[in-house]
């Protein structure tokens, strides 16, 4: 099994070698690939056709991590893989004609083949991790297919929506798989099946199933994740028919069905599926009939149909599983037909507007017949395959396991859904082909045989299985049901049950659906009403959230990163003052060490006062020169303080540097205009408060630091050894040039660099263009 899948993937890339247009007529021969796969899979049918049997293909990949490329064919896989390859064959044929003139058709076939390989991988993998890999590959290839018309913005957007939602779901599903692997110690589905209960009774059970639901519901477009599917209808119609009705969206269903025997058994599992499925099927069916775009209508009926399957899986009885498995096939057959027909109509008339399309049966009879049969099947008219599944639905909801009230509710929901689906089916499959042919469509001639043949084949199967159900129920459907149910089942699809409740419900459905069909007329007004609902749709909500987050990020950045240096300093200082201040007052007892403090003499006090005045002048003057002079005064005062307290070296340096600074200031900045007053009193007051409290905090910290005397051992070492080791008597000098000689050297380098910088800036001539005055 590994080989066919790998070959499929390789062939996908071979497609890229074909030249479009020139070789356009050869593209239909590519359908040989799915056909061969179909026949190959069919050869395994006898092996799995009855009871819980399977064929296992073992391929190790990374045994140490429990990851393998094991494949398994059982009834469920068989049902899905036959659908994938069978419908795939027809789609391949159809698309070659549909996209004949497209210049990227080789890419289209590459994506489509990739998708088919991935999809086969999903339904055949026995290993959870491998299943996940294929699952993501279907999302990715679907992304390329939805966004196939790359020059349309809508198409790209829808593709991204679909990818992000299914991707997110897949991600959560991976989490679920890892939990399953952690709890049970194996990633093999086959082994999990041999130990049921191990997950159900585990404490992680609810997390596992909710993550699994997230994966399945996003992929299968269940409420509230349904909205990506109508968007995905931007894809070329063959893609919609293949991926978004028959196969990929059913991957979520497959996942739920696959895990039913492993994870069902808890009421939460059943109720969740029933509620979500129930809501989805009702909403999808209700919304579908208001659309006048054929594809839009079909998209919503697909959502509804997926809801029905989830609902049935949720009910979880043998009959329900049987009904679900039957309906998967029924739906794939009639929905793919309707989509293909839509594609033909679109291709020939260039519109999908149901309010315009009439009477096309006169110009394309085979298409009309196929559509008619599909519509009947979707409505559940006897002798079509759809009738059998509808009988089963009502059989399930009126089953004996329910209380009177539940029968009422479940049957009611089912009836309502089916009534709407019936008229939706009529709208898409019957309305465009009957009535009077408008003038503008008179010139249309019969479409190419490769366009009308696939839907005709599908509708023929619908009819064929409807009349002779034994052909499928004894082969795949029973086998699939056994795989889902976990026990061997042996049920029959019966054409005639006699006059009973179920038949009555079927008749009511058809009658009401027909009445509704004649009441509802596709129009802009109805679509307009739907637009109002858009405000509450999950898509709008998510979009609004996304916009909101972006706005928040923008404002947040604006606030904290506003480009004003002083605001950054302000925030830093505020936080520093707040946090350190709080810590200081909360944890440290405030003490002032008055002992050992030296008294001050009068001249020291005078120096102090002068310094304070100079600082005040610097901060308040409007004259640049005054402030520079005041800065000089401050420098000299500090110089004096150094002199008073035994630091002659410092005093000399400070004196020299300060003089230089002032001279430099005056020389260079003398010509600048006086300070402009940029800020108002309020801002100055704010800044004043903040800076004064910062200063006070620093003072308080200094005061606290003075309480404990500094460690003098380092100083003592230098003092003791200055002469003994370094032969110098000025200890400060010895430290600088001897003990810390390297520091001083590097400091000199820094000074040199600064000097070079100063020199080059002074020499630099301003270019003309740079002046912005």
């Amino acid at each position: 099994m590994l080989l066919p899948i790998i070959i499929t993937f390789l062939l996908a890339f071979v497609m890229l070698l074909f030249k479009p247009q020139k070789m356009a007529r050869f593209f239909k021969f590519i359908s040989v690939i799915p056909l061969l796969l179909f026949l190959y899979l069919l050869s395994y049918l006898p092996a799995v056709h009855y009871g819980v049997k399977s064929v296992f293909f073992k391929n190790d990949w990374i045994p140490s991590l429990g990851i393998s490329l094991d494949f398994k064919i059982d009834g469920l896989s068989m049902l899905f893989s036959l659908m994938i390859t069978g419908i795939g064959t027809l789609i391949y044929l159809y698309a070659a004609e549909y996209l004949k003139k497209d210049e990227n058709i080789h890419r289209f076939y590459c994506y489509l083949t990739l998708f088919m390989g991935a999809m086969l991988g999903v339904v055949l993998s026995d290993n959870l991790i491998t299943l996940f890999v294929f699952w993501e590959l279907t999302s990715i290839s679907s992304y390329f297919l939805i966004g196939y018309n790359t020059n349309e913005e809508d198409s790209r957007k829808s593709a991204l929506w679909a990818l992000s939602l299914t991707g997110l779901g897949g991600f959560l599903m991976l989490a679920s798989f890892s939990l399953i692997g952690m709890v049970s110690g194996t990633y093999s589905i086959n082994e999990l099946l041999t130990q049921p209960g191990i997950l159900v009774n585990n404490e992680y059970y609810y997390i596992i199933i909710s993550l699994l639901f997230a994966g399945a519901f996003t992929k299968s477009a269940q409420f509230p994740f349904h909205f990506w599917l109508p968007g995905a209808m931007k894809a070329p119609t063959p893609v919609s028919a293949y991926l978004h009705s028959a196969t990929m969206v059913k991957a979520g269903i497959y996942l739920l069905a696959r895990f039913s025997p492993i994870l069902s058994g808890d009421e939460v599992w059943n109720y969740n599926l029933m509620i979500v499925g129930g809501i989805t099927m009702l909403i999808g069916a209700l919304l579908s009939i208001f659309h006048k775009d054929m594809k839009g209508l079909l998209a919503y009926t697909t959502i509804s149909a997926l809801g029905i399957i989830v609902f049935l899986l949720g009910i979880g009885t043998e009959t329900a599983y049987y009904a679900a498995c039957t309906f998967i096939l029924v739906h794939a057959l009639y929905k793919a037909t309707l989509f293909l027909v839509t594609g033909i109509v679109d291709h020939e008339t260039h519109t999908r507007d149901l309010s315009v399309l009439r009477g096309l049966g006169k110009v394309m009879p085979p298409v009309a017949i196929a559509a008619f049969i599909a519509a009947l099947s979707s409505a559940g008219i006897p002798l079509t395959f759809g009738f059998l599944s509808k009988e089963l639905f009502y059989g399930v909801t009126t089953g004996t396991i329910w209380t009177r009230e539940s029968v009422f509710i479940l049957t009611g929901i089912m009836l309502l859904t089916n009534v709407f689906l019936t008229s939706a089916g009529f709208l898409a499959g019957i309305r465009p082909f009957f009535g009077k042919l408008p003038q503008e469509f008179k010139k249309i001639h019969k479409p190419n045989v490769f366009l009308w043949l696939p839907p005709v084949v599908l509708s023929f199967l619908t009819l064929f299985f409807g009349v002779l159900p034994a052909i499928v129920d004894q082969t795949v459907i029973n086998a699939a049901t056994s795989a889902v149910f976990g026990k061997s089942t042996d049920m029959y699809l019966v054409l005639w049950h006699g006059f009973n409740m179920v038949l009555l419900l079927s008749i009511i459905t058809i009658v009401l659906g027909t009445v509704l069909y004649f009441t509802i007329k596709p129009s802009n007004k109805n679509e307009g009403r739907l637009k109002g609902l858009d405000d509450f749709s999950p898509q709008t909500i998510i979009t609004n959230i996304a916009v909101g987050i972006r706005l928040f990020a923008f404002k947040y950045t604006r606030f904290f990163h506003n480009g004003y240096l002083r605001i950054y300093i302000l925030i830093i200082i505020l936080f520093f003052t707040g946090i350190v201040g709080y810590k200081l007052f909360a944890d440290v007892p405030l003490r002032v060490n008055t002992e050992g403090l030296s008294e001050f003499r009068i001249y020291e006090f005078i120096v102090f006062v002068i310094t304070m005045i100079a600082i005040y002048i610097i901060t308040n003057t409007t004259s640049r020169l005054t402030s520079i002079a005041a800065l000089g005064v401050v420098g000299y005062s500090i110089c004096l303080i150094f002199v008073f307290y035994g630091a002659p070296d410092l005093a000399m340096t400070q004196f020299a540097i300060d003089t230089l600074t002032v001279v430099l200031f005056v020389l260079v900045l003398f010509k600048l205009p006086p300070f402009l007053k940029f800020s108002n009193g309020k801002i100055q007051f704010r800044d004043g408060i903040i800076s004064v409290s910062f200063g006070v905090l620093i003072s308080l910290i200094t005061l606290q630091a003075l309480v404990s005397p500094a460690d003098k051992s380092v100083s003592k070492f230098y003092a003791d050894n200055a002469y003994v080791m370094a032969k110098g008597k000025n200890v400060v000098n010895v430290i600088l040039v001897d003990y810390r000689g390297f520091d001083t050297m590097i400091e000199t380098i820094v000074l040199s660099i600064a000097a070079i910088g100063v020199y080059s800036i002074l020499k630099y001539k301003t270019q003309d263009g740079e002046k912005s005055e």
Partner: protein
């Protein structure tokens, strides 16, 4: 005297930060210098101030015989003063250049707003 110096340190820090909040580039630089002075005094103060006695060994002795001022903070401050001069010199020239190029002393006039978010 320590108490006076503590107040002085506070005053330097307050004034320095206040000047840095201003929009003028020259004021920003002045604020930085005041802050630097405050830090120097702070280091000097924390090291313990000793009146009058420089950390210089008398010519006739080979070691200290009496109390001396702590040499380590002095070495640190000396380095700080010199480095801050390098900074100041470079900044002054840069300011001058900015002024001749843009014709403004206003920091905000140098901002380029992010246009498209």
């Amino acid at each position: 005297m320590e108490l006076l110096l503590v107040i002085l340190v506070g005053a330097f820090y307050s004034a320095g930060i206040y000047m840095m909040f201003r929009r003028s580039m020259v004021k920003l630089l002045l604020g930085l210098l005041l802050l630097g002075n405050g830090a120097n005094i702070l280091i000097f103060l924390i090291g313990g101030i000793t009146k009058g006695k420089a950390p210089i060994i008398k010519p006739q002795n080979t070691e200290f015989l009496e109390v001396y001022a702590d040499p380590v903070p002095q070495a640190l401050i000396l380095t700080a003063i010199v480095i801050s001069f390098a900074l100041t010199a470079f900044a002054i020239v840069l300011l001058k250049r900015v002024y001749t190029t843009t014709g403004s002393d206003d920091l905000d006039s140098l901002n380029i707003q992010d246009l498209d978010i």
